[in-house]
Symmetry: C2
Amino acid sequence: MQKTAYKTKQQDLLFSYLREMQGKHFTAEEVRAHFEAKKLTIGIATIYRQLEKLVAEGKIQKYFIDEHSAACFEYAGENCNTNEKHFHLKCELCGRLIHLECDELEKLGEHVRTEHGFVINPLRTVFYGVCKDCLSEGKNEDCNED
Amino acid sequence: MQKTAYKTKQQDLLFSYLREMQGKHFTAEEVRAHFEAKKLTIGIATIYRQLEKLVAEGKIQKYFIDEHSAACFEYAGENCNTNEKHFHLKCELCGRLIHLECDELEKLGEHVRTEHGFVINPLRTVFYGVCKDCLSEGKNEDCNED
DNA sequence: TTGCGTGCAAAGGTTTTGCATGGCA
DNA sequence: TGCCATGCAAAACCTTTGCACGCAA
């Protein structure tokens, strides 16, 4: 089944970049730009293919933040493939993506599972809202009405 | 600022369809197809423009379900513009979108606000996971590894 | 040498935008 | 009549796919 036969330079480059980015999010395009800046060309198709593979292997996660913006990826860490229990908060105002590790969320997961029969996947779940900074800056008047 | 000057036939048609769809989700393309079936042509651009406007007005919500599939919209209801406290659960296996009204979720919202300084917007937040039916059908063996 | 992985370019799908026209006030 | 909203088509955007070539084993 597994046929990851050949190890290539691009795979190495990519993977070390991912580790470097531990705890941060990145898009396929950002990866490409990163290497371009280093005078290293990795085709965007290759990046997508590698990222897809790594997602399937559980080495990185993929997040859908906005429908129009590119997908975000994140290194899953060496050993915590599916142990990582953090959720993501996405600020609708400044666009920041925040990590949240919190027992309450695990409790909620329990509740939803036992009471509603639904098993939440934290890896794909994103909470939208308004972050601390934007709140304190009072940017949250109301909807932007241009 | 507001310049919703002209009321058009398309707006009426669209809005009555939305009300008809209360509690259900739909995509822009589904709306278009619905009217096409009735021999009424509404351009997809118009639909997107109207839906966007209605989202801004809080009359409908917009959900990002999958990155590749089209965005889902849902009528917000007559009076519960921002009172509606339900969240959405999206089953990653069968694709179903489930409404969830639950006090625990409100409590979680409280917690995240007070402890983490983040105000969650339930209208845009979607929980991904696996639903009751798919769980009982044992479809959740593990990741599809092709 | 074999055949996988790569890179380029083109295709795919959804959403947005430009522009001329039609319809509301 | 004035001007907004519409509709068509083209563009934009992210992502996937086809195909020939290069490179790993």
